[in-house]
């Protein structure tokens, strides 16, 4: 209620003020038209009196000021003409000082002063000096600021800058600088005087008003930056020290923050680089509540861009020791602002690191130093809990990863793992994943065991349970995602040199073995396949004296897969044993291959009880065994006997049947040296047939109708397979008999019509037709079969 009342009042007062200005302006114009100087001055003074109000906020005062400003322009034009008419500007300068109140008097004085300077009847510097001092008469913050702003505006184009028409014997750049600096100082003092006191509502209002006025003060710095005569030396010796003096001494938080920011924005980066020590020296002297880290970040941001846009200035950065100075300054700020929250300090380090990576990317020692400073700051503190601080640490650690696409570079930073140690375990894991993601995105490769060691140190939060891990169950999906990341990264650890590669494998193995039963199913397989790839590379090489031999690696593999028994993960282990068996076969290592088969078989017998799992496992065993050719007769017989034994024990009849006829392939290998035992093949097929028959009969009894003839058709196809391959034990008569059997079964009363087995049978018959039509030896063979 009160606020809107106040606003309404302000609107009213502003309207009144504007009306007053317009009213007096009307009469002033009339006087000007009549060439009546005295009258004109009288009305202009009255007009300007409206600016004496204290009732308006800066925002509204500005509107009033602009109206007056416009009128003063017209008055100024008149003054110029008046001078031509004969009344000297000196006299005019004298005349306007008779105005009653000081504020109108000074506005008029400045206006005449502008004309005075233009006339060149007096040295520019004298007029400027006079004006800037006279303005001291107004000490009210808002009124004073606008008055001095007016002075700044009208003097802007009349400064004795190099090359300006106002430069002369007595008038130099120094005078221009002095003038602006003084106006700036006085304006800052006025601005700071608007104290933030009183109840919160009043303070907030005041702060808002102060902010509205800040550009008036900042404008002076802008003007300074535009003075061409200010070179680096002048800036260094005079301009900067004076500005900083004012900034530090005013002891006002709002002003200090704004002006430092302004300073950095308006002056060229080249100057900042060369005055870095002075500039940074002011920072610890500022009020402790000033957000200096933002100021410093801004500075570093500007300098980074400067370096990026003009690479030829890089030597300058080194010459002025920019990094060292910034690093020291930041250290000092953090030290003096003792109660700065940790997130503030880390944000500063992030800015410094960003600067370093952009300006001195090749100086890994600098990068490491920044990380080291951060470590020091984080030491002797409990683990970070502030999520903003944690985010900043993650940003700090991510920056080198993004900059250096080659992960190995980041791995050489000795302080990197130390920073990570200060993260809580959740964030540590997230960071570990960021590292892995970076490796994957950049398609980087880690090629030495030492670096692998460092990498696994960094990602140890994913590799094993650390103390401090929360006791709560980790979300399963998250856990799986983590472990899949680890699995992926194992594949990018690679070296062409087998010896180094084996070292890498051993290093990885050492780490993943600490992972515990939950992690092993994820981490063991990629390691195993990495090792198998190495074995394959070594296969064709000679040299058993090499430290890296297939035999050694197989031993390692054996021990590694064994660890899965603690999970337990028998199905996975069985698959891996079979992979190793095949690889050992290819290396001609019969005992090693036998050992792996043994391990697989033991697992099958003792650990795999699920029917479906058994079926898959059996086919994997048969498939692998079928391909191995390294075994002598005895060993092969033992293994084959076992495999067929397992097939016989499968529970469901169809599974049993299929496994048995699959075993037939163990006795028939199609290459030239392969075993081709036609009799054993036939035995298997006949056994399969018996099982299929039994299955039919069981179905008849148990369900009242026989099952589909699919199994018979499958077996028929197997007969055809071996018939074609030239197994003399398979006769066309047998095939014919089987065909008739199937037809009978399909037509019997108890048959269950089944589209799928019908189609299968039809396709098979069609196939026989194709073979018959082939002609030649094949056609002859099939000729005896009637479909």
């Amino acid at each position: 209620m009160m606020i809107s009342d106040a606003m309404e009042d302000e609107e009213k007062w502003l309207a009144e003020g504007i009306a007053g200005i317009q009213h007096n302006a009307f009469y002033m114009h009339r006087a000007l038209d009549a060439n009546n100087l005295r009258e004109a001055l009288k009305y202009s003074a009255q007009l300007l009196s409206e600016l004496r109000t204290s009732r308006l906020s800066p925002h509204k005062y500005y509107e009033l000021y602009m109206r007056a400003f416009d009128e003063l322009r017209k008055l100024e034009m008149f003054f110029k003409e008046e001078e031509r008419h004969g009344c000297s500007v000196m006299d005019l300068y004298e005349l306007v000082q008779h105005a009653g109140n000081i504020l109108p008097r000074l506005y008029l004085l400045c206006t005449v002063g502008s004309v005075y300077i233009k006339s060149k009847e007096a040295p520019t510097k004298d007029v400027l000096k006079d004006l800037v001092e006279m303005c001291r008469g107004v000490q009210h913050p808002i009124r004073g600021l606008f008055l001095r702003s007016y002075l700044a505006q009208i003097s802007r184009d009349k400064l004795p800058d190099i090359g300006s028409e106002y430069e002369g014997d007595g008038d130099t750049v120094m005078d221009a600088v002095e003038f602006v600096l003084q106006n700036f100082s006085e304006m800052n003092k006025l601005w700071v005087r608007m104290e933030l006191q009183g109840p919160a509502r009043v303070r907030d209002k005041m702060e808002k008003e102060r902010n509205e006025l800040r550009d008036l003060v900042g404008k002076n710095l802008h003007v300074l930056s535009q003075i061409e005569g200010i070179d680096l030396d002048l800036y260094k010796e005079t301009v900067l020290p004076r500005i900083l003096e004012q900034v530090v001494n005013c002891k006002d938080e709002l002003a200090q923050y704004y002006l430092m920011d302004c300073l950095i924005q308006v002056f060229p980066d080249e100057y900042h680089l060369q005055t870095l020590e002075t500039l940074l020296g002011a920072c610890p002297q500022l009020q402790p509540t000033v957000d200096i880290k933002t100021v410093l970040s801004q500075l570093m941001e500007r300098l980074s861009s400067y370096a990026a846009s003009s690479p030829e200035v890089l030597p300058e950065f080194l010459q002025v020791e920019a990094f060292a100075k910034l690093s020291t300054a930041i250290g000092k700020v953090i030290e003096t602002q003792g109660d700065m929250p940790i997130v503030g300090a880390i944000t500063l380090y992030v800015s410094l690191l960003t600067f370093t990576l952009r300006v001195h990317p090749d100086r890994l020692d600098y990068v490491d130093q920044v990380l080291g400073s951060c470590v020091k700051k984080l030491s002797n503190r409990p683990k970070l809990e502030d999520s903003r601080a944690t985010k900043q640490v993650v940003a700090l650690l991510s920056a080198p990863l993004e900059k250096y696409s080659d992960i190995v570079t980041s791995l050489t930073l000795s302080n990197y793992p130390r920073v990570m140690d200060h993260l809580d375990s959740g964030t540590n894991k997230i960071m570990a994943m960021v590292i892995i993601q970076s490796i994957m995105t950049n398609q980087a490769c880690v090629s030495s065991a030492d670096k692998v060691e460092v990498l696994f140190e960094l990602i140890k939060g994913l590799i094993k349970d650390l103390e401090g891990d929360s006791e709560d169950e980790l979300d399963e999906e998250d856990f799986n995602e983590e472990q899949n990341y680890v699995a992926r990264v194992i594949h990018v650890l690679y070296n062409d040199d087998p010896e180094e590669m084996l070292k890498i494998i051993c290093t990885v193995r050492k780490h993943i073995m600490t992972g515990g039963p939950k992690r092993l199913p994820f981490t063991v397989p990629p390691l195993v396949f990495s090792a198998l790839k190495l074995i394959r590379r070594l296969q064709n090489q000679d040299g058993d004296e090499d430290p890296a031999t297939p035999k050694k690696i197989f031993q390692l593999l054996n021990q590694t897969i064994e660890a899965l028994s603690y999970v337990p993960a028998p199905e996975l282990a069985l698959r891996l044993y079979l992979q190793c068996a095949e690889a050992a076969n290819d290396c001609d290592l019969e005992p090693v291959a036998y050992e792996f088969f043994t391990q697989a078989f033991v697992l099958y017998e003792e650990e795999i009880a699920d029917s479906k799992a058994q079926v898959t496992a059996i086919h994997l065993i048969i498939g692998t065994l079928q391909r191995t050719n390294v075994f002598g007769v005895e060993n092969r017989d033992t293994l084959t006997h076992k495999a067929t034994g397992y097939s016989a024990k499968l529970l469901k009849k169809p599974d049993h049947c299929r496994a048995v006829y699959a075993c037939s392939h163990l006795f028939w290998v199609d290459d030239q040296d392969g075993i081709k035992d036609g009799e054993r093949v036939l035995l298997c097929l006949k056994r399969a047939l018996r099982i299929a028959n039994a299955a039919q009969q069981m179905a008849n009894v148990a369900r009242g109708s026989s099952g589909p003839v699919t199994l018979f058709v499958e077996i028929l196809n197997k007969y055809l397979y071996y018939f074609e391959k030239g197994n003399t034990q398979i006769t066309s008569a047998a095939i014919q008999g089987l065909i008739e059997l199937i037809k009978t079964e399909m037509q019997s009363d108890t048959a269950t019509p089944d589209r799928i087995s019908d189609a299968f049978f039809a396709c098979t018959l069609r196939y026989i037709q194709f073979q018959k039509q082939k002609g030649g030896a094949m056609g002859e063979k099939f000729d005896t079969i009637k479909v």
Binding site: H491, P526, H619, G623, D670, F760, C763, R766, Y767
Partner: protein, 188 residues
Amino acid sequence: MVLVLAIGDLHIPNRAPDLPAKFKSMLVPGKIQHIICTGNLCIKEVHDYLKSLCPSLHITRGEYDEDSRYPETKTITIGQFKLGLCHGHQVVPWGDLDSLAMLQRQLDVDILVSGHTHQFKAYKHEAGVVINPGSATSAYSSITYDVNPSFVLMDIDGLRVVVYVYELIDGEVKVDKIDFKKTSTPAI
């Protein structure tokens, strides 16, 4: 014109970290009507990725697949063609074309797509075609040495199918194509 992507044996993350970048940039959503996958992805993330390329996704179970609910075999009809899908570790001897032909007869399909050997194959016989898209990540295989990453794209148009095989050789994607025409199926 129906585009069918045949892909499989990626073995992520057990044997390979990811699809090759060049393949990833080629496989964009919205261009393919069906994906048939021989299996051994192995993890859900790969499943989701394939699903994002095309919602019509058919997968059969490989022996390392995380999800054990994928079927052992699958048949799909696309246009005039019947396609059969099976990982292939179930068919002994592995990679034996005659044994695969038997499976083809059993499923009664024109085109049988199966994997496991990680080696691209496209084999035509009187009753149809057997295709092995290979391994899209050139994952280690005990059966085949030195594989290149590969996958297959089939363009089914009426009674004709053009099989494009994409292979990554020395960092470049090479494409080959094979034409098959189907004679209309005789009635049973």
